[in-house]
């Protein structure tokens, strides 16, 4: 129990279209993360699923039943809100009980369920306090607890970690993952933070401007982003993009010409790219390394800025007529203005066409 199917979902406010033709099938027990920049429609999509917003077109099915016209209360879902939305005038216990009382559950069962959730989330010690007396992390737990006691078909979480400080966010993230492993219920999680998406999701749904850009497992998205947007969004820091044009092709690869005229030979099988076509070459900062002065196997670059993080060194470099970011392991003694040699010998190079769509993954030659 807990599959959710979206087919051709549309949502508009008057003339403003917020969601265009969303198709998505969420399996039972899956942890799906909606991720995208703010205003991409991910929260609206969650609220549509919750029943807090009415869809303007398409079909929404929960466990195979069409629920377009079913009210939020009757969809059997539970939601954790960004602001937690705990009832300020009720104690923690009353907050947890409110939904159960509304569905007419007998008192003893309510008590058992609350006790169980309280134990699971370790919130027993402040059950009789009000939300105003709790810390941010404690409120967060209560908000999750309020969803758990309902034993919902699926959990909807709307940026639940965004109000926590950085340290707490990491630990709570792990707890949510553990919770999912334990409950094995469907969870839909909205965030703008791609790290949360990568660490939590079974599958990630990347959205932009009311459309789904790509759906896939975290590593799928990381390794084979469907377009430049996904490539830039997933992974931190962002992927470097080198704008280039096709200078020539051979059976086993292409030669690209970068902005400053440098030629870059890459290995790529089976492409229909013609000479002169504009492409961009994506390479993740982590995949660039320092070559020890061996210019034949690398790119000459000048150092603009160095951030020594101890375990790794972030190099802001300039090469091929543009800026390039490289992250190299360990500590390097570099100064701004120095000339270095960068190499991407073993790096996967993501090739995107002028329309931004993925062409393939090339290897440097």
């Amino acid at each position: 129990m807990g599959s959710i199917t979206l087919s051709n979902i549309q949502k508009s406010y008057g003339a403003v279209h917020v969601l265009h033709d969303i198709n998505l099938a969420i399996e039972e027990g899956e942890f799906v993360v909606f991720v995208g920049p703010s205003g991409c429609g991910k929260s609206t999509l969650l609220r549509v699923i919750a029943g807090l917003e009415k869809v303007t077109g398409g079909d929404l099915k929960i466990n195979g039943t069409r629920v377009n016209d079913v009210s939020a209360a009757d969809r059997g879902l539970a939601m954790v809100f960004q602001s937690y939305a705990l009832y300020p005038h009720m104690t923690v216990r009353q907050n947890l009980a409110f939904g159960l009382e509304n569905s007419g559950m007998p008192k003893p069962e309510i008590a058992t369920r609350i006790a169980e959730a309280a134990r699971m989330l370790e919130i027993d010690s402040y059950m009789d306090r009000r939300p105003g007396q709790l810390s941010g992390g404690q409120r967060q737990r209560v908000a999750i607890g309020r969803a758990i006691v309902r034993r919902p078909t699926a959990f909807l979480l709307d940026e639940p970690l965004s109000n926590l400080d950085a340290e707490l966010r990491v630990s709570t993230r792990a707890e949510i993952a553990a919770l999912h492993a334990r409950l094995k219920s469907t969870m839909i999680y909205v965030t703008h933070d791609q790290v949360e998406a990568m660490t939590l999701a079974n599958r990630i749904v990347v959205m932009r401007a009311g459309r789904i850009e790509q759906v896939g497992t975290p590593l799928d998205l990381y390794n084979e982003p469907a377009n430049r947007f996904v490539a830039g969004f997933i992974g931190a820091p962002h992927m470097n993009f080198i704008e280039a044009e096709v200078a020539g092709s051979s059976p086993d690869g292409l030669t690209l010409r970068a902005g400053d005229g440098t030629l870059i030979p890459v290995a790529l099988e089976g492409t229909a790219l013609k000479t002169g076509e504009a492409v961009s070459l994506g390479v993740r900062p982590q995949h660039i390394d320092l070559a020890n002065g061996d210019l034949s196997s690398g790119l000459a670059a000048s150092v603009r800025m160095v951030e020594a993080l101890g375990s790794e060194t972030v190099i802001h470099a300039e090469t091929l007529g543009q800026k390039l970011l490289a992250i190299v392991p360990g500590q390097r003694r570099l100064v701004a203005g120095e000339t270095i040699t960068l190499s991407w010998k073993n790096a996967p190079l993501h090739l995107f066409g002028a329309d931004g769509l993925r062409i393939g993954t090339a290897q440097p030659r």
């Binding site: 919750a50 209360a73 939601m79 602001s83 939305a85 005038h89 409110f98 309020r146």
Partner: protein, 350 residues
């Protein structure tokens, strides 16, 4: 002690009294006397007997002439300090007055009659509170009835106001619907229509629905206060919408959201409105005066005004009942004044 005085007389700038300091304190002390004085005066007067009230110039405290029972006389006799012909002063009881001469006796030796000129005697007076001014109107007149009517009107109207206004404010702050702005506009426009403009037709409506000479006729037209809707709506706008979403996810019906979530969270604003409403309804005069024409239905305000308008005003009762009428408002003033003043200062509404 000296620091306390220094603190209390602290004033602008340096050591010397600036002329503005003098103006300030004269104004404040004068204000204290002018603002409180009349009500205090009235309260003191309300404890005087009719004879005490007729006295001129009046005394501040309620004095009565001391009386004493003297052997051989049926009625108690008033006591006087009499200056005798030999220049000594004695306390004597007056038996009767003939012209400018008063016949007096010594209460301890009542045999001998002493004649004293009335200019040479001063009554012996004691403070006595004429509490019968308070008890009589309740026992003999309908004032208990009036008090009850006033309490009924005030409490009922306030409760209905709170419910009806908060429901409307909830609809106007938390729902999107066509005509919401129009409804808001209508409510604001009613601020422009004071009672005195619609007096006659309102009366005809009240009588045609059979509410003339009914306390409900006093209550109903007053309960949909635009001020109340306005205050509550402004407050409800600060309640996050996510709470309502959460409640909907929690299977709460819209009515439960109103009653279990919105009303408890709006409690501070409801308290302010309740205080306002109590004062308004308690003080209402013109409308009850029109709707209520039977004596047993009068509210305190109407009853007071009718009694005080009679040819032979029984001031000792009127004053006492005026004090009774002031009591709730004075209580509000003492305990809840801060709520009202901040309420007014923020909204400019009265």
């Amino acid at each position: 002690m000296s620091t306390a005085i220094a603190f209390l007389t602290r004033r602008k700038g340096g050591k010397f009294w600036h002329w503005t300091d003098i103006v300030t304190w004269v104004w404040l002390i004068g204000g204290l006397i002018v603002m409180f004085g009349p009500a205090v005066w009235l309260t003191f007067s309300s404890f005087k007997t009719p004879a005490g009230l007729a006295e001129f110039p009046p005394s501040l405290l309620p004095y009565v002439t001391q009386q004493v029972r003297v052997e051989g006389y049926e009625k108690p006799l008033p006591l006087f300090n009499a200056k005798l012909a030999d220049g000594s002063t004695r306390v004597l009881a007056e038996v009767r007055r003939i012209g400018i001469v008063s016949q007096m006796v010594d209460p301890k030796a009542p045999g001998e009659i002493i004649k004293v000129r009335i200019g040479d005697r001063e009554p012996v007076r004691e403070i006595s509170f004429a509490t019968e001014n308070y008890t009589q109107p309740f026992m003999q007149f309908d004032f208990f009835r009036y008090l009850w009517n006033s309490v009924f009107v005030t409490v009922t109207a306030t409760l209905i106001t709170l419910i009806v206004n908060s429901m409307a404010a909830f609809a106007l702050s938390k729902y999107e619907f066509k005509g919401r702005n129009a409804a808001m506009l209508v409510i604001l426009a009613t601020l422009m229509v004071p009672l005195s403009v619609i007096l006659v037709p309102l009366y005809s409506i009240i009588s045609s629905v059979g509410l003339f000479n009914s306390l409900w006729g006093v209550i109903l037209p007053t309960v949909a206060t635009p001020t109340g809707v306005f205050i509550l709506r402004q407050y409800m706008l600060t309640i996050p919408d996510e709470l309502i979403d959460a409640a909907r996810m929690d299977k709460a019906s819209e009515w439960q959201i109103y009653w279990r979530i919105i009303v408890p969270l709006t409690a501070p604003a409801l308290a302010v409105l309740a205080i306002f409403s109590v004062v308004w309804r308690w003080n209402d005069f013109l409308w009850p005066l029109i709707v209520l024409s039977r004596r047993e239905l009068y509210t305190l305000q109407v009853g007071l005004s009718i009694y005080s308008g009679e040819l032979n005003v029984q001031w000792h009762y009127i004053l006492a009942m005026t004090v009774v009428t002031m009591i709730p408002v004075v209580l509000v003033f003492i305990f809840l004044q801060r709520f009202i003043t901040t309420g007014i200062a923020g909204s400019g509404l009265k």
